[in-house]
């Protein structure tokens, strides 16, 4: 999918003046609250009309002030998933799911309702009213409803913000799988760097009504390292655990990672903050941390007064974060061998 826009919209004292040309199947739009993300999405989906400019999705013009084109939102086929599920309260789960499907011309229907219901594990909920669904179930129904309308683009506007951490990571696989399984390009909006890392391939950054980018999720995470509460978040997809003495050992690089929050499932996704890694130039004699990895420094990057150290072991990398003076004192340069100490409890299992 290729998205091109150059739009201007003033609302009170706020003005969005943004342009971008981005190609990708999973595009992220990242920005703090009130930066203009939602305005941008409203313009793309046709819920708001730009003061001037143009919007193209692939080769189709959705809006052009010059050529007086403004495709109405119900003809743009851009599916929306909001922060709150916004289900139709007077309809059952099934009627909610089929609302867009019934309105989609037969020749454009690309999603099989039964397959989708199965993917989103909604089979048992179909006849229920939407009033007594849990937060995660509501969001899954909202996602299903949007996907069943066979949109050419799925826009998810902070769909995880209203969910707690546990539910959030339960919903993420569904968001990813429907987009991949039914081959629907998506735009994912969030103010969370971690969600961007999990959901997006390429990212547009929205700040004070203007758009910069595209950037990669890794570039965003590196840039946000010094200011983010959790530093740079390493995402580690680990598989083949062996459990002994209550600890899980996962093969990683040339060695293994010992993790207390592991699981017997074959593959799990963990997060590890760059701030939970301590670097040594020499192997320390005795240390309580259960992980002592010998790594090579592959790359160094700056984020304000911090230095990000990209560590490599075989085919895997990790980012550690140290202050500038520590980097100078340890004389860490590219190619240096260091020992990374990580506590077994520093890893948090996400999925």
């Amino acid at each position: 999918m290729r998205l091109r826009f150059d739009v201007k919209k003033s609302q009170g004292s706020f003005t969005l003046d943004a342009s971008a040309d981005i190609t990708g199947e999973r595009i992220g739009i990242f920005g703090r609250s009130s930066s203009g993300k939602s305005t941008l999405i409203h313009l793309l989906s046709g819920l708001l009309e730009p003061d001037r400019g143009e919007i193209f999705l692939d080769d189709d013009c959705l809006f052009s002030s010059r050529d007086h084109i403004n495709i109405s939102p119900h003809r743009r086929r851009i599916g929306l998933v909001f922060q709150q599920a916004m289900l139709f309260p007077h309809l059952s789960v099934k009627s909610n799911l089929y609302y867009g499907w019934r309105r989609c011309p037969k020749e454009l229907r690309r999603v099989d309702p039964e397959e989708l219901t199965c993917t989103l594990k909604l089979e048992g909920l179909l006849e229920r009213g939407v009033g007594n669904l849990s937060g995660g179930e509501r969001q899954r129904v909202a996602l299903g409803r949007a996907v069943l309308a066979s949109p050419r683009l799925l826009v998810m506007d902070e769909p995880l913000s209203a969910l707690d951490d546990t539910l959030r990571f339960q919903v993420i696989p569904y968001l990813r799988s429907v987009s991949e399984q039914f081959r629907i390009p998506c735009i994912f909006i969030s103010h969370s760097v971690l969600e961007m890392q999990l959901m997006a391939e390429r990212i547009l950054l929205v700040e004070n009504g203007s758009v910069t980018g595209p950037a990669t999720p890794d570039e965003l995470a590196r840039k946000a390292m010094a200011t983010s509460r959790r530093g740079y978040v390493n995402l580690l997809q680990l598989s083949g655990p062996a459990c002994s003495s209550g600890l899980y050992r996962y093969p990683w690089g040339d060695g293994q990672l010992v993790i207390s929050d592991g699981s017997n499932t074959n593959s799990s996704l963990f997060e590890l903050s760059s701030r939970d890694i301590i670097l040594f130039r020499k192997h320390p004699e005795a240390i309580s941390a259960r992980n002592m990895l010998e790594c090579r420094v592959e790359e160094l990057f700056s984020s304000e007064n911090r230095v990000g150290v990209v560590l490599r072991s075989a085919n895997r990398t990790l980012v550690a974060e140290i202050v500038r003076s520590a980097a100078e004192e340890l004389d860490i340069t590219i190619g240096t061998t260091v020992f990374a100490a990580i506590k077994a409890s520093a890893f948090r299992r996400l999925l």
Binding site: S72, P73, P89, G129
Partner: protein, 229 residues
């Protein structure tokens, strides 16, 4: 309590007939005006709002007098109707028009309250799912403002039952033709020895109002239960 005469029974029947007709006739325009005021921005919206709400603030007798002027032979709508062979003044239909005019702002306000409680993002979601404006109106807005519509209808019906000032101006107080409960009570109360009958009709009036309110409550609860599914 005294025995009801055929004239009283006819007054009760007429009251119900006029109130019910006024409510049914006002529902579609009431719904559309509420929708216009809730969801559309247009020039003259404030003017429309003032015009719709005018009967709330004007004395009903004034409204009745205006209606009489308009529907009479000297008013242009009256002349048009006259040419078509229709005479409305001093008929039960004139009482319907009077009741509908007086009760209309109450109906619009209630429906509007219902419509404005709909989260705009629900409407946005429907648009993104391929639903056109008329489609959204009937599949989302109408069902979600059902409680407002019901409240508006009940208010309108109750207000129509009690309508006096405008009705007497435009429909008169003709037994068996336009005499409703309030008009009959007025006639009894202003004639010697009619106090007992006036009280009997008052009790009938209270009973009908209580039944309407109970019906409204039970229907509202049913809608609520269905919504909570």
């Amino acid at each position: 309590m005294m025995q009801l005469t055929t004239q009283d029974i006819e007054a009760i029947r007429l009251s119900l007939q006029i109130a019910l007709t006024a409510t049914i006739v006002s529902l579609p325009p009431g719904f559309m005006v509420a929708w216009l005021l809730s969801f559309r921005n247009f020039r003259g919206k404030v003017l429309l709002e003032v015009f719709i709400n005018l009967p709330l603030t004007l004395p009903p007798v004034v409204i009745g007098y205006f209606l009489l002027l308009m529907l009479g032979r000297n008013g242009w709508p009256g002349r048009l109707l006259d040419a078509a062979g229709i005479q409305l003044v001093f008929t039960w239909q004139a009482a319907v028009i009077a009741a509908a005019t007086i009760g209309f702002p109450l109906m619009v306000r209630s429906i509007r309250l219902g419509m404005e409680s709909i989260n705009p993002q629900i409407i946005d979601a429907a648009k993104s799912l391929g639903s056109s404006k008329p489609d959204i109106l009937f599949t989302i807005v109408l069902p979600l403002s059902l409680r407002g519509i019901l409240a508006g209808s009940s208010l309108m019906f109750a207000r129509s039952l009690g309508e006096f000032g405008a009705t007497i101006m435009v429909a008169g107080n003709i037994p068996f033709v336009t005499q409703t409960i309030p008009l009959a009570i007025y006639e009894y109360a202003s004639s010697p020895g009619g106090t007992g009958m006036a009280m009997t009709l008052c009790i009938v009036s209270v009973t009908i109002s209580v039944i309407v309110l109970f019906l409204h409550e039970s229907l509202t609860r049913r809608i609520q239960r269905e919504a909570e599914g």
